[in-house]
């Protein structure tokens, strides 16, 4: 029986994997993950088809805003509410901060939030939390 032809599929993936490996390797030489820092009044986090918040970690100052933009064809949410998390580790709020959520963000939609309590916020996308769509906002004084 002739085996299934997987090469046409695999070749682009292999090249892509190689590229990722090379990039990762180069990064390993001098770069640890560096959170994006707010340059002005706020930062933008993109929601992707790959089920990522990009960047996965941002740092802003108290009073700054973060804007999330759904750049994917999927519906996503931006949610930080321990009551709605499938895994407790996927939601974290500093003491005194209140849970928040965007509701469903259709493709192209945005959600903006100003942070007034310093600390670490761990948030997730409700439909894709289990697929690893989890990220962090660090708010500094």
């Amino acid at each position: 029986m002739k085996p299934i032809e997987s090469a046409p599929f695999a070749a682009p993936l292999l090249n892509w994997s190689l590229a990722v490996a090379i990039i990762a390797g180069l990064g390993g030489l001098c770069l640890a993950p560096v959170p994006a820092r707010a340059a002005g009044p706020g930062v933008v986090v993109k929601l992707t088809d790959e089920l990522k918040f990009a960047p996965a970690s941002v740092t802003v100052k108290v009073g700054d805003a973060v804007e999330w933009r759904n750049d994917s064809v999927l519906v996503h949410t931006v949610t930080d509410d321990p009551q709605k998390a499938a895994k407790a580790a996927d939601s974290a709020l500093p003491e005194g901060a209140r849970p928040f959520g965007s509701g469903n963000l259709k493709p192209g939609a945005t959600y903006k939030r100003t942070f007034t309590v310093p600390g670490t916020y761990r948030y997730f996308c409700i439909p894709h939390e289990a697929a690893g769509m989890v990220a962090t906002v660090q708010v500094t004084k």
Partner: protein, 328 residues
């Protein structure tokens, strides 16, 4: 002689299981059966005869007045009105040792390979350890995301068991687009599978059951998953408003979430019970009613894979869901 527990002795079986499972290969329709040797045909018939549901199905499939579901009928309404879909691509499926057991004492090998059967010769060593299916299957990690997914289902689960007739009902319509703007649709169900072949269908609609994995109902290549609602019926596959394939077996199910990090298909230990997914499956098989088994038959989907071949099945996930259900 077929020895299911001794993979080295079953080279012929491997060929046939690959051929059957891999309707996915997008080869010429019917080619797999045409190439099957007498030994392979005997092996597959042997495995089909070992299917453990045969007794249950034989008893129930002639019942013309089946009993009603305990507590009365359940009405289901399920929709997705915005957002994309995840489309599963042909891929190898990692072996879940919890479901399939150790290689020397395998479980879930009986039945048509790819339906309920996953015989030892179907497995190979996987990069990084463990095993994976040698053939490509609809049940792997590879996928693409496509836009404009819409889903409308109205269903009633009234009949409790498999039977000759059913009071279950399903109206199903799903559509999505590719990035070139082509529209793909699946419609169902002009007819429900009132009884199953190789495994039960509970009258065509089932609610609050466990499917796949260790359940023995449906392919064990999917994880064991609690299923709030499922149906099996016959419908059509369309592209840009034109019917490409009809009638086709259509299976849908609303389950707990069975994808993990980077959307990899979970093993049993990676299922997330608190989240929901709807799965649409148009399998590359057709029922052979005369023999009570399934036969290889790629689906004419019209969708071109990256390698230029036609996708021979649809395995589509909807995840932005509005789900309502009630008794009565």
């Amino acid at each position: 002689m077929l020895k299911l527990s001794m993979p080295r002795s079953t080279g012929g079986l491997l060929g046939l299981s690959s051929a059957l499972l891999l309707a996915v290969s997008a080869c010429t329709p019917g080619r797999a059966q045409e190439q099957a040797s007498p030994d392979m045909s005997a092996a597959i018939q042997k495995m089909q005869s070992l299917d453990g549901w045969r007794g249950y199905l034989d008893v129930h499939k002639a019942v013309d007045k089946p009993r009603e579901l305990a507590g009365g009928p359940v009405t289901i309404k399920l929709t997705q009105d915005a957002g994309g879909v995840f489309v599963g691509l042909p891929d190898h499926r990692r072996r879940d040792p919890i479901v399939f057991g150790p290689a020397d004492m395998p479980r879930h090998y009986a039945g048509t390979p790819g339906i309920t059967g996953a015989p030892p010769p179907m497995w190979q060593a996987a990069a990084g350890g463990g095993q994976e299916t040698k053939p490509l299957t609809p049940f792997g990690d590879k996928h693409i995301v496509l836009p404009d997914g819409k889903l409308t289902i109205e269903a009633v689960d009234a009949t409790a068991t498999d039977a000759a007739t059913t009071d279950d009902k399903v109206m199903f319509h799903a559509s999505w687009k590719d990035k070139a703007g082509n529209t793909y649709e699946v419609k169902c169900c002009a007819k429900l599978a009132a009884h199953g072949l190789e495994y039960p269908t509970f009258g065509g609609v089932a609610t609050n059951v466990i499917l796949h994995g260790n359940s023995g109902i449906g392919t064990p290549l999917m994880p064991t998953e609690f299923t709030y609602f499922a149906f099996w019926g016959f419908g059509e596959v369309d592209m840009n408003g034109k019917t490409l394939d009809k009638p086709r077996l259509i299976h849908g199910m609303l389950t707990e979430y069975v994808r993990g990090q980077d959307y990899k298909l979970a093993n049993d230990e990676g299922v997330t019970p608190q989240r929901l997914q709807f799965h649409l499956m148009v399998p590359p098989f057709k029922p052979d009613m005369e023999h009570g088994v399934f036969a290889h038959a790629p689906v004419h989907t019209g969708f071109k894979l990256p390698n230029g071949k036609e996708m021979p099945f649809w395995h589509v996930m909807f995840e932005t869901l509005d789900f309502q259900s009630h008794r009565g």
